[in-house]
């Protein structure tokens, strides 16, 4: 049974790869743009899920890393004319440095962690909103140019799609390696029983801190890609709602899995695009999805699939 499942998984992976590589040739710009967005937010959801699904920490400040990276890159490009190859690392550095600082929150656990990260996220939102001389306030940073790397401008939606896809594949490969490494095992050990890990001689706080910073880096990466995709950034990107949406994506798809956050991103963004075409109150619809998922499908889509397939095996 196990080998058939392995072959099936590989087959699905290959089919998926062919679909995502071939998509721009078959679909129009609208779909390419939507899928790019799904990739970017899926990456943010994956960042959130490294902590949530593996370490059991529910962070509400990842939109802050996302936004700080996006702001840094776009301000450098737009206002100071810094080139893409310097603006991008600077954005990643800014977001990750904030992660080094906010990562101190791993001293707290449970509800305190949730509330503390939420409050920290609000600092960034507040700065983006109130420090308008630097951040542009409510209207944010506009007219972000297309990224240009060593003389080559990535201008069309299709080109940018492939850039995002390439970044994503690298991140996914590294992520998979990370969560399967002893480090990932320790994280899951902390999630299921921190005192036991401590008595085994591990230092949970140190592991959680490292995981926190890695996940802040991933969120920053998503932020940089986002600002080049969207060509615009405002304080909304740092808001609690963006963070909650990323959490929702991870849960809807299947927390603790590699592709779950992306399935979730596709479902959430697809649903939102579809609903907002005929119904203006999409936040209420999102709210209902939150409630429905927690009550009926806490394992997300992948959880449902697993339940279904293991039911068949019996």
């Amino acid at each position: 049974m196990n080998t058939t499942r392995l072959i099936a998984t590989r087959l699905i992976a290959i089919v998926l790869l062919i679909i995502v590589v071939g998509l721009p040739m078959a679909a129009g710009t609208y779909w390419v743009g939507l899928v790019t967005q799904i990739f970017i937010f899926g990456l943010l959801a994956l960042a959130v899920d490294l902590l949530l699904g593996h370490a059991g920490l529910f962070s509400l400040c990842h939109a802050a890393f996302f936004a700080v990276a996006a702001y840094t890159t776009s301000i450098l490009q737009v206002r100071y004319g810094v080139s893409t190859q310097w603006a991008v690392p600077a954005g990643l550095l800014a977001g990750t440095s904030l992660g080094l600082l906010f990562g101190l929150s791993v001293r707290t656990r449970g509800v305190y962690f949730i509330l503390v990260t939420m409050a920290m996220g609000y600092i960034i939102w507040g700065v983006g909103y109130r420090w308008s001389a630097f951040t542009g306030g409510d209207s944010g940073i506009t007219n972000v140019p297309a990224p240009m790397v060593s003389g080559f401008q990535i201008s069309t939606a299709e080109q940018f799609y492939y850039v995002v896809l390439a970044v994503l594949l690298v991140v996914l490969a590294l992520y998979q390696k990370l969560v399967r490494s002893p480090f990932g095992l320790v994280l899951r050990g902390i999630k299921s029983g921190e005192p036991r890990m401590r008595s085994l001689g591990f230092n949970p706080a140190r592991h959680l801190y490292v995981a926190f910073v890695i996940s802040a880096f991933m969120a920053s990466l998503a932020g940089v890609l986002y600002v080049y995709h969207n060509r615009f950034i405002n304080p909304v990107a740092a808001s609690l709602h963006v963070n909650m949406e990323a959490v929702l994506m991870a849960i809807v798809g299947g927390s603790g899995t590699l592709l779950g956050p992306f399935i979730g991103a596709a479902l959430v963004l697809g649903l939102r695009n579809w609903v907002s075409s005929f119904f203006e109150f999409h936040l209420a619809v999102m709210g209902l999805v939150f409630i429905a998922v927690v009550i009926w499908a806490p394992g997300g889509v992948i959880g449902l699939l697993r339940r279904y397939s293991s039911g068949k095996e019996k």
């Binding site: 529910f58 001293r107 936040l283 939150f290």
Partner: protein, 288 residues
């Protein structure tokens, strides 16, 4: 000096409002271990219902009551049909209550629209008080402060001097033991949760008259109330009082002295405090 006194008064007014919201949050968490992110939504709905009642009847006391009762009803239904399903899982609690808050927020947007609305202040409270030194300050804000102090006193007496209070305190420390001594824990939950949502709706009415009520107000005030709870320590009523004063004053001084960085002024000290005391000023060991 005058502006210092003025800002201090502003800070205390805001602290009174925050305390009303934070006390309920901290008690429900302390007793039931429920993180209720819909607390802000109760505040919002209380504010809007209070607004409608105040405009229709011109009676502010009735508005306060209506806002509180509506929020209590909403809180009761939420507890009974939704929050209970999350069990002790904080992640599920947060997702469900955030979802609920989104739904309530959008329904309110549909009914009351997107503008900031000000609850009419009763005529007797519309004037100003002249303080020694020539500072004038609105009567309504003194009313707000008095309400905050009165509620704090009542809660304190209930918490420290009554049978129910003793049961709640015991429940915060060790729920199973309280159940084992024959105290009706479910009824205790009902009382505390009802009280918390009533206070949230009640504070929404006061907040509507003090700060106006608008879409998104529920999240802004919730974050401040949560900071109060974090600083004070989860489950501690005294912590909520001290925390509210700290947050109210820091916010007022921050807005006055460093308007662009006021969020730093507020959250920075909180972050530093937590590095040394991860459970806040008065948080108990068993609260996570």
């Amino acid at each position: 000096m005058d502006s210092f006194i003025l800002q201090t008064l502003n800070g205390i007014s805001y602290a009174a409002l925050l305390f009303l919201l934070a006390s309920g949050f901290t008690l429900t968490f302390g007793l039931m271990r429920i993180v209720n992110m819909a607390h802000g939504a109760y505040y919002l709905i209380g504010g809007y219902v209070g607004l409608t009642v105040a405009k229709a009847t011109g009676n502010f006391a009735l508005a306060l009551l209506a806002g509180g009762v509506t929020a209590t009803l909403l809180g009761y239904l939420a507890d009974k049909f939704l929050i209970k399903r999350a069990g002790e899982n904080h992640l599920a609690q947060v997702l469900i209550t955030v979802g609920l808050a989104y739904v309530v927020g959008d329904v309110a947007l549909k009914i009351w629209g997107g503008d900031a609305l000000k609850l009419p202040i009763p005529i007797v409270m519309r004037g100003v008080v002249e303080l020694p030194g020539g500072i004038v300050y609105p009567v309504f804000r003194f009313f707000l402060m008095s309400v905050g102090v009165a509620v704090a006193l009542l809660l304190w007496i209930m918490y420290r001097k009554t049978q129910i209070g003793a049961a709640i305190r015991a429940g915060v420390d060790d729920r199973e033991m309280v159940g084992a001594t024959g105290i009706h824990v479910d009824r205790l939950f009902l009382i505390v949760s009802g009280l918390a949502s009533f206070l949230a709706g009640f504070s929404g009415v006061l907040g509507g008259a003090f700060l106006t009520v608008y879409p998104g107000a529920e999240w802004e005030i919730l974050v401040f109330a949560l900071v109060v709870v974090i600083i004070g320590g989860l489950g501690s009523l005294g912590g909520a009082m001290i925390g509210a004063l700290i947050v109210g004053l820091l916010d007022a001084y921050g807005r006055w002295l460093l308007p662009e960085m006021s969020y730093f002024v507020l959250f920075g000290p909180m972050a530093i405090l937590l590095l040394f005391r991860p459970r806040g000023l008065f948080g108990a060991e068993n609260m996570t």
